[in-house]
């Protein structure tokens, strides 16, 4: 647990130090400091993972040493240790991209990204409904401030994003108030032992779910996402799509897999799963029609989150532990792939001087590395073997294929795969059009392009440690 707390407090300290230093620290040094602290945090998260793997169970910590119920409890499960590691890795990667590639970022990016890192770490570790509310607000405000980094044109989407994000957290807070009123506790573990499916609990869980779905841009509450994610600077888009939307999903998963009574979860599960299926298709179709590259990638987030929602819904409906594994494999595979897609899209946009998908003609020749990264990450989104996306989909499909009454769900997954393939191949096909090449405006930024490729390779590498990952995630009561 000590390592987890160290991994959590390093980025927070770094954010405070960056604020204190202000203009005394040059932009470049601020970046180096943020990257180094992310690396330190990554190291701590690695030791934390080893600890958990050795203990093979969740560790609970009552903050302040107070008794259960009075104290806020933190919980370090195999999943949260993995997410800590994942968050730190993404921050290191995107930090290096933001600091050393050609497109510079302003000094406040570093403060904000450190704060984001800290708030996410706090979220993964928290097992207290009200504490989760504060981390949710931290996450939302950071995300909005980061969208506003893009400059004047992003202020309006940022303002809309902020209002929606506030509404979403308030819905969640209303549910927390009702739960505390009904059960007199905020602790996730204690609540899990107590909840019954009466009217108050139902209403509370439903308003919390609505709020969290809005925050995570799950269909049908996703309409704000493309504007916010596509308007942000490239590094920020990657952080938002790869990490920020995963926070609310974590809370949603915590609520339905632990807090909610089982019979209620079984009733609501299929509804969520169907919504996930619709998200897959609707998001995919919007991505296919989008004329702009970044909007296409943003819509693909909406579609891919459909898989996560489907896994969650089926987890609730069937109460199968392997659905936990499917859900979190999806989340991690999607995070890595989406980082690549946004970085590659941003790099191609800058190099080719166009925001349109049609401007990518001949991209395989002009920006080969970035285009290759895009295609490789796209392959994982589609679920081509042996990528991380395939791994997740395989775990999801296994119970579906084993009994005939579940085949309609498998059909949904198949449909989603086809739509994903369609929008990825749309981009790839245009890039092979070497007859009418869109000449690059500037020489490609080598470092940026290769950095974009890195997470894509990692998501394919996930298959190598696939067996270990599945075992790790299903061990220790998650």
């Amino acid at each position: 647990m000590t390592y987890a707390l160290v991994s959590l407090s390093i980025p927070l300290l770094s954010a405070l130090a960056l604020m204190l230093a202000g203009a005394r620290l040059s932009n470049r040094n601020a970046g180096i400091m943020a990257i180094v602290t992310s690396l330190l945090s990554l190291g701590a998260a690695w030791f934390c993972l080893l600890d958990v793997a050795a203990a093979n169970q969740s560790i609970l910590l009552n903050l302040g040493g107070w008794e259960n119920g009075l104290a806020i409890r933190l919980r370090l499960s195999p999943l949260s240790s993995l997410l800590l590691l994942f968050t730190a890795f993404m921050h290191v990667l995107i930090g290096i991209y933001a600091g050393f590639s050609r497109r510079g970022v302003s000094r406040d990016f570093w403060t904000l990204s450190s704060l984001l890192h800290g708030s996410l770490a706090a979220l993964w570790l928290s097992a207290d409904l009200f504490n989760l509310y504060i981390t949710l607000e931290l996450l939302g405000l950071t995300a909005v401030a980061m969208v506003a980094l893009a400059g004047k044109k992003a202020y309006k989407p940022a303002a809309n994003y902020l209002i929606l994000s506030l509404v979403a957290s308030l819905f969640y807070l209303l549910g927390v108030a009702l739960v505390y009123g009904r059960y007199g506790s905020l602790d996730v573990v204690l609540l899990g032992l107590q909840t019954q499916s009466d009217t108050t609990t139902r209403i509370a869980l439903l308003v919390m779910t609505a709020g969290l779905m809005l925050k995570a841009a799950l269909w049908p509450l996703h309409l704000w996402l493309p504007a916010a994610h596509a308007n942000a600077p490239t590094a920020v888009s990657a952080l938002l799509s790869g990490l920020v939307v995963k926070g609310p999903i974590f809370i949603l998963w915590l609520l339905w897999s632990e807090v909610a009574p089982v019979d209620l979860a079984q009733q609501i599960g299929p509804v969520l799963a169907v919504a996930g299926m619709i998200a897959l298709v609707a998001g995919g179709l919007s991505a296919m029609r989008s004329p702009y590259l970044k909007t296409l990638v943003a819509y693909s987030t909406v579609a891919q989150l459909g898989y996560a929602m489907m896994a969650l819904g089926l987890l609730m409906a069937w109460q199968l532990p392997q659905m936990h594994v499917a859900l979190w494999l999806f989340v991690i595979a999607h995070g890595l792939a989406k980082a690549t897609l946004f970085l590659a899209a941003g790099e191609m946009q800058t190099t080719l001087g166009t925001k349109r998908v049609s401007g990518l003609r001949g991209a395989t020749q002009t920006v080969p590395v970035a285009m290759f990264a895009f295609a490789v990450a796209g392959g994982s989104l589609i679920g081509l073997p042996p990528s991380g996306g395939f791994l997740a989909k395989w775990v999801l499909l296994e119970p579906m294929l084993s009994s005939p009454q579940n085949w309609p769900w498998a059909f949904g997954v198949l449909l989603g795969t086809l739509v994903s393939a369609a929008y990825i191949f749309r981009v790839v096909a245009i890039s092979f059009d070497r007859a009418r090449i869109n000449p690059p405006d500037v020489r490609p930024d080598r470092l940026g392009h290769w950095l974009a490729l890195l997470p894509a390779l990692m998501v394919w590498g996930m298959a190598l440690i696939g067996e270990w990952l599945i075992e790790f995630l299903s061990g220790g009561g998650v």
């Binding site: 604020m19 903050l63 302040g64 504060i134 009904r182 107590q194 009466d198």
Partner: protein, 325 residues
């Protein structure tokens, strides 16, 4: 309905009236004024419900800082075209119908079902047959270092929430600073003559501001044993600073000054430092040694008050020259 419910009913009706007005008043300015009035009614309700801390906080924030914030925003915004914009006429009425249905449903569950048993008989909220959380608070209070339960919860039992809340304040400030990117130090900003304020306001400010500062200090001191504490004190101090700044009696608060930045982060830094020190040398994250608990809480509260006051005043009145680094 008994006669003793009359004040509650009057307050409730007033509250709903203000809320409706704050949303649908014909001009934006009226809506804002009614929203500030709404804040005052909420403060009254909290005083009536036995929550003096919240009444104080709401009075300082709802009536004071939010008012200044809204007025400033109103001056910079263009006039709005219409209240409800391009929505279809039927949309409003059907939505109202939906809201009324929800309200009736809410009234039903709040008065009639499981909630009633839990709601009116709080013993249903026992944790698995053990003591309720408020009983735990009472039992643990002697070891918490302070004698007022709300402060004990905020600074000791749920200190992690409070630490994160200080980060939310910092984050909002960082976010606002984004909106004034890299304006270099303008020579004009340094030589700007103090603005001419209304004389009566000026003399009022001279009188009120020290009073607010005194009251803030009192609240902070009293937080250990009675209603009050870091946040209420910070909010009051911020109102004093805002008033002085608006009347030109306070020099600009500049982000470029190291001391100001230190004041802004001090609360969170000290809190985090205590947490880390307790992790490294003590019994664990945020575990205060019992004999030091009181002193540590006072120290953290002092720093937090300073940070809250400075951050809130920057959030409310920080000008572009003040905020850019």
């Amino acid at each position: 309905m008994t006669l003793e419910l009359m004040p509650d009913i009057v307050l409730g009706a007033l509250l709903l009236l203000m809320a409706w007005g704050a949303l649908y008043a014909p001009t934006r300015y009226d809506a804002m004024a009614l929203f500030v009035a709404f804040g005052v009614v909420v403060a009254l309700i909290w005083a009536r419900l036995g929550a003096p801390d919240l009444a104080l906080a709401e009075a300082a924030i709802g009536a004071g800082l939010t008012g200044v914030l809204l007025m400033q925003a109103a001056r910079q915004l263009p006039a709005e075209a219409s209240v409800t914009g391009k929505r279809m006429p039927w949309f409003g009425s059907s939505l109202l119908f939906l809201v009324l249905t929800c309200a009736m449903f809410a009234a039903h569950i709040l008065t009639d079902s499981s909630f009633k048993q839990a709601g009116i008989d709080a013993s249903a909220t026992r944790l698995l047959g053990g003591p309720t959380v408020p009983e735990m608070v009472t039992a643990a209070l002697p070891n918490s270092g302070v004698s007022y339960p709300v402060t004990a919860v905020l600074l000791n039992f749920r200190a992690w929430d409070t630490l994160l809340e200080l980060l939310v304040l910092l984050l909002a400030l960082t976010g606002v600073r984004q909106l004034y990117p890299g304006t270099p130090q303008h020579p004009r900003a340094n030589t700007a003559s103090p603005p001419q304020a209304w004389p009566v306001l000026l003399s009022w400010a001279r009188f009120l501001a020290p009073l607010l500062v005194l009251l803030g200090g009192f609240l902070l001191w009293r937080g250990a044993s009675g209603p009050g504490g870091a946040f209420q004190a910070g909010a009051l101090l911020a109102s004093a600073a805002v008033m002085l700044r608006l009347t030109g009696l306070l020099p600009p608060l500049r982000w470029s000054s190291f001391l100001l930045r230190l004041a802004v982060i001090l609360g969170a830094l000290l809190f985090l430092g205590v947490a880390l020190a307790s992790l490294a040398f003590g019994d664990g994250w945020l575990v205060y040694p019992t004999q030091w608990a009181g002193a540590l809480i006072i120290l953290i509260e002092l720093a937090a008050t300073l940070s809250i006051a400075v951050t809130l005043s920057l959030l409310v009145i920080g000008e572009s020259e003040d905020l850019s680094s």
